[in-house]
Symmetry: C2
Subunit: 445 residues, 2 copies
């Protein structure tokens, strides 16, 4: 079958066979199918969607297009965790040590992201000496010894996904749910995990602006997991305001440490316990999250999880002292405080605008090769629903460059909206999708 | 605005501005917008359509992308005629001489088509000595002298359309009505005509298989004409059976000559008088087709139209004797007759299958650079509704190659369907679309 016939089939709403999808991807990688046919195919998929067999075939075709990681030398069930990305979302640095402390191996390969702040790998690199490029053998040895390692992704992991994403980015076909789902799942599957926990963010600070799209993405990924025999749970969570209180690489590492020190309360800590408990369930460590959450809470309060983080930092060449003394992290030169102008209640915190302001400061990447400033960022001292008084500090901006500070300050007036009445709380977790179906949870922020 | 933003706009069903469309085409021609963005745009247009402003802007952007022909040195209203293509459709070779004999200039540039038989230019080249590549100056001089010239299209006419068509062909975006309409209209407008008569074929032997699509295409082209101030009439005609009785290049020239000699009756002659009469109306020669048809009928019966054809052939270096002696046309070596097997009525003639059989014989182009055999083809001795007796000849196949004959004969059993009852006639002309609206006509075959 010619490439054009496969495009026509999809355009007319027919289903592509597994063999056809595998050949399409194989030929695309080999350059035998040109970009202009792939972009037309993506646009046809945008309009006509894919059924579960198709999206699973696409996922596997991309997962097998390059290196695949064999985690079988690590004993036990290997569970990967993925977040679709939000603002002040540093869950990996907290969940990893938590589950590792509970005896569940956390062997994570992570990327450098394009966006408001760096990816997990960028954040970790703000720890003095920390190495993210370690080889497979060492990686596995480390996980077997201490249950915890976070390293950079192999360059040749799911290269079909990389090539496809580059084309989607310039042809208006990024926001297609089957294409997003197969992109995420292909990398996770190539990464060798047995089971997956997905945190699908929705709200103004997330890629998925509305809940129904987020559920659709969650459902599609869980279905792929089922089709390819990797049990997958997806949690749909609130990203209408920043999750934590820090936006920026070293500031987020600091917040992760403070959280593991037991010094913070709030949605970031809550969500980490919740996500971690789901990982324990997937790992058959506990029967349900009601058993898992207190177990992890104890490991947090006892300092066992913080100890795990320290072990990982030391094992990967970093200065483990940082978990006791966060001033060892890179510090920005200047701090600028933004104050409340009049009494009221915080009605809305624009996570996207805040993320954008942090990117302007240098915390994120506007372009693929932008250099990140690891020390800059924004600390948020209030959250939605808070009652505030005039003169109270809303934000502290950590900056190194006054021109960039000015740029960020232009965004700030958009970030907060105030009300003169008490504001109703919003859920932190909207619901979950597992192989058993979709559940509404509505955990409060 | 970046190319990707324009794709997103169209994908989301918004309308593109004239300026945006012109820039998209300009940048595409210059290679600044790559094929992969154009193919995604075409697929978005396939799904979301274009409004009349957009499709007119696209038409004009393509019309002005290369050479344009200035027909102003020809006095009077210059009307172009275009058929969307059918089987045994040799109307141009009859309509041209008819309207020229009525004093209306017929200055036509025509293409070599890809399909069942050659284009008008291929057909004319079966006349010994006939030149289709003559320069602009001579072309205009000839039309001013005898009202009639048919030449090959300039290679640089609407190059954006050529480049776009090549991409559409391999990305599943050919059958988009705004893209088809703008492709046809851009070439006609670049060709310099003041007004246009379009014959939109529908049925199994046409690209538009169903009437509603044909009307939609007709309406879109008439609207473009209105937007760009070129009065356009589109006639929607029946292509469920071959129009004439000959499929193949020299056989079609012979049929045109026989028709202009007054020796044929039937749908081809009827449609030529009908289309010609519309051209006289567009040229302000007559007030309506009821005045135009008898006028043209007289010019046909008197031999004046045949004389015009002879003048054109002589003017373009051909042997004008051919209009009296069609045996001067290339003749195939072998003739094979296909007979009726049992008495009955002809219920269905598959124009597409017949065209395909003629292409197998060598009369058409399967690929862009296939060489055409001008002498081969098929003569059809019956038509739908005819009562036939066993042993009667259905077809005569003119062939040069026995292997190709065998190939064509494999198709023939699919061509005819018989009934044992009288068959209801079908219309020849379904209706017309003009600036004043859509009219149903239902002229009988």
């Amino acid at each position: 079958m010619r490439a054009v016939d496969m495009i026509l089939k999809k355009r007319d709403g027919e289903f592509l066979q597994e063999k056809e999808i595998h050949r399409f991807i194989e030929y695309y990688i080999k350059g035998m199918i040109p970009d202009y046919q792939m972009s037309a195919m993506c646009m046809a998929i945008y309009f006509k969607g894919m059924n579960s067999k198709e999206v699973s075939s696409l996922t596997m075709a991309m997962a097998n297009s390059g290196d695949t990681v064999d985690l079988s030398p690590i004993s036990g069930i290997k569970i990967d965790k993925h977040s679709t990305g939000g603002v002040a979302d540093t869950t990996t640095l907290i969940v990893g040590p938590l589950v590792a402390a509970a005896g569940v191996p956390f062997a994570k390969m992570s990327g450098r992201s394009l966006g408001y702040t760096g990816g997990t790998i960028d954040k970790l690199e703000s720890i003095p000496g920390f190495q993210t490029s370690i080889n497979q053998e060492q990686f596995i040895k480390q996980v077997n010894e201490i249950n915890l390692a976070i390293i950079g992704q192999s360059k040749n992991l799911a290269p079909a996904d990389k090539k496809l994403y580059a084309i989607r980015d310039v042809t208006g076909t990024v926001s297609s749910i089957p294409l997003i789902a197969s992109s995420i799942m292909s990398k996770k599957i190539a990464g060798g995990a047995n089971k997956l926990l997905l945190d699908v963010k929705t709200g103004n600070g997330a890629f998925m602006k509305n809940k129904e799209d987020a559920y659709e993405l969650a459902k599609t990924m869980v279905t792929i997991g089922q089709e390819v025999n990797k049990e997958t749970i997806a949690i749909v969570t609130n990203m209408d305001q920043p999750l934590g209180t820090a936006v920026g690489n070293s500031l987020e590492v600091e917040e992760a440490i403070l959280t593991l020190q037991g010094k913070t309360k709030g949605p970031l800590r809550e969500l980490c316990l919740y996500l971690g408990a789901h990982m324990l369930v997937l790992a058959d460590k506990v029967k349900d999250i009601d058993e898992g959450i207190p177990l992890l809470n104890n490991l947090l309060e006892s300092g066992a999880a913080l100890k795990k983080l320290e072990e990982m930092i030391n094992a990967q060449g970093g200065n483990g002292e940082v978990v006791k003394n966060t001033s060892l992290l890179p510090q920005a030169v200047g701090k600028h405080q933004v104050k409340v102008r009049q009494d009221g209640y915080i009605n809305f915190v624009d996570a996207e605008a805040l993320g954008f302001a942090a990117m302007i400061l240098g915390a994120g990447r506007e372009y693929k090769d932008s250099k990140i400033d690891l020390s800059v960022g924004i600390k948020i001292h209030v959250k939605r629903e808070d009652k505030v008084k005039a003169g109270q500090t809303l934000l502290t901006i950590h900056y190194n460059d006054k021109v960039k500070l000015e740029g960020a300050l232009k965004i700030i007036p958009k970030v907060f909206q105030f009300a003169n009445y008490e504001v109703e709380p919003e859920p932190l977790v909207y619901g979950m999708v597992s192989q058993r179906g979709r559940f509404t949870l509505n955990l409060k922020l």
